[in-house]
Structure formats: structure tokens, C-alpha cells
Symmetry: C2
Subunit: 187 residues, 2 copies
Amino acid sequence: MLKVEKYFEAVGFTGDDLEKILNAFELKKFKKNDFVVEEGKTSRYLGFVETGMFQYYIVKDGEERTNYVSIENTFFASVLSFISETPSLENVKALVDGSISMISKTNLKMLLNEIPAFKDFYIGLLEASLCGIDASRYDLIVLTAEQRYEKMIINEPHLLQQIPLQHLASMLAITPRHLSRIRSKIR
Amino acid sequence: MLKVEKYFEAVGFTGDDLEKILNAFELKKFKKNDFVVEEGKTSRYLGFVETGMFQYYIVKDGEERTNYVSIENTFFASVLSFISETPSLENVKALVDGSISMISKTNLKMLLNEIPAFKDFYIGLLEASLCGIDASRYDLIVLTAEQRYEKMIINEPHLLQQIPLQHLASMLAITPRHLSRIRSKIR
DNA sequence: TTCTTTTTTAGACATTTGTCTAGTAGATAG
DNA sequence: CTATCTACTAGACAAATGTCTAAAAAAGAA
């Protein structure tokens, strides 16, 4: 059973509605380093991570700068591209083998029109995303790099264990060199 | 005529719906340095700036750190507080005398339930906010302080003329000292 | 295992940014 | 007009962070 199914059940969808929702998704598999979204191409899909981890990053001066990493049981999209239908500024690629339940923008609109409760679900999803990204931006402004790292240890310990430090560094908006310094200081 | 009325007309609302929407808002006036939202208090209002400018900031180590400044004809809220109904981390205060059309969360929910098209409007508002804040976070990670300042000159020249540099500095996530340095370098 | 590649650490030094402080200019109040 | 306050600039120095480089450690492949 797909995780996306459990998710929508837990949110309260049943019967025909649930079936219609699940039919709107399709499962796609990715091998390590496969691209889900490529810079310059418009991404018309919203994804729900079934398995694996997916890294968002942009290439700046030849280097990968990671914005975020999505893990199992979460929705994700290349926000700007998906919403405004413009070429994506960022890449999304699989950090390990994994799979994503994806829904096209067309199907999403169909669900929004046909299932009233789905609109409320989508509003909730947008609101939660807004809170998450607002809090993240807030941290970038208010906290020091060291404080952001400590917060990551507490709030996202799974990332620490699974993701190369170089990627974590750019999520913290610092260089790997500096993260190494912070780590040696803290221990 | 209130700007919020023009706004909802332009978005396509008419007749009873428009009237119902406008009745849900109430106009509040603020004098310079009045608080719209206070840290620690839950903010249950969404606002539409009619006149003036309103500064969001948090107090860190006794200093004001500005997150954003809202100007005329834009919606705003203390996002985290409004959506998740938790005490606000930030203050919002009037930089000059001004007025805001405000709608309570209760009234917002009422409109969402009673006017189907209002749900679509709200989805659009959330999507636009998400794009805006995502782009802003992106800039904080990818651009240097100098590049962020140059972008502000191009995209938000009105801020430059109206807002004290100390506030602009913290919007750029730097100190006034450093902004002064950047300004003298660029000219 | 052994070889190879990737990840992580860290030294040395450069650059960026912050802190503290003071001075100047402009605004405002009396 | 004078005194006071606020905004802005800037010098001197300190702290934070980046760059370049190399080596150790860990992970993966043969």
C-alpha cells in the first residue's frame, strides 16, 4: 500500500473521493542521482515522497547549493516553478534510490474542482508550507550558523545521519569548511 | 473608496459576494509607532494595507531586526501566528501614520465557507505568498549582501526612499554599518 | 582484501561582516 | 535660533566565514 494512500486516509478521505485522488497520482521510481526536476525546465508536478530522499539545489559558480532535502511522507514541489509555471531555478535529484507519488498540475486542478474537501486539504497544505518556509527564512535572518546547526541536530536528526555534510552545510547557508569548524567546536 | 474594495472588484467579485466580503473587513487607523501586532500575542487578523507602511521585526539582543515592510495595496499577516494560532514571534508597527483593512480569522473562515470563489481567491493568495517568501529565502542563501542590496534597488526602489537605512539593513540580514560600507562602495 | 572514489577534517591565509566608537548632518522641539 | 535627537557615515579592530589545499577517514567497487 502506498504511503500517499495512508496519508489521504488519515486526512479523512474515503470511498469514491479517495479513489479519485489516488488515481490522479502516479508512482515514479528514481535511482540515485536521477533528476526529478531539472533547472531550466518547468516542473508541473507535485510530489509525495514514498521512499528515499530528494535534494533541492541550485548550481552557483559551479557548486551545488542545497536548499532543502525532502524525506518520506512529505509533499514537495519546486514551488516557484510549479505555482507560477516558469522554468525551475533549482534541480531536484535523488540522493538514494527512491520513489515518488506524483500528481500533475492538470490532475490537481481536476481534484480541486471535483472534490470540495480537496480544496480545504490544499489550503491546509499551502498554509503549512507557508509556515515552514517562513520559519526557515526567519532562522536564516535571526540565528547564527552555529545556532542553525544546533537547531538542525534537535529538529531534523534524521538528516544528520543520512545526508552528506557538504549538503547540510549549504542548507545551513555555510561552507563545508565552516560546518566542520562548528562541529569540532561543539564536540 | 477603500483600496480593498478596488482590489476585490479587480479580482472579479461583484454584487452580494463583494458586499459580504467588504463587510467582513474593518478599517483600523494607526499612528506612527503604533503596534499592529505585538510579540507574544496571537494575531488573529489578516490585513490589507490601505495607507502607510508597516514594519515587521523581532527584537534580538535588544535590537530590532526587520523581516519585512508592507506597503499600500498588499495583504499581510504575521504568518506563523495567524495560521497556526500561536503567539507571534514578531512585532508589526506603523512606520508612519496609516490604515489597514483587517479581517478576523473568524470572518475569513466564514467567507471561505459561504463564497465558493473566495476559496479560490484565498488559494491564489497563499500561492503568491509562498512564491514570494520562497524567492526571498532563496536570495538569502544564494546572493551576497551586496547583491541583495542591488536587487532591492531595482525591485523595491520605493523602500529606499521611504525607509530608514537601519531597517533596510536588517531586511538584508546585515548591520547598518555594513550597509553603509556597501553603499559607499557602489557609488 | 585491495584499489578507488567520496567524504570529512583541518591548516594557513584572505575576505566579509560585526562591534564599538565617534563625528557629522539633518530634522524636530522648545 | 538653539538644543536635542535621530539617521547616517566611517575608522579601528575583532570575529565570523570563505578559499585553497592537503591529508586522513570512510565508503564503495573490483
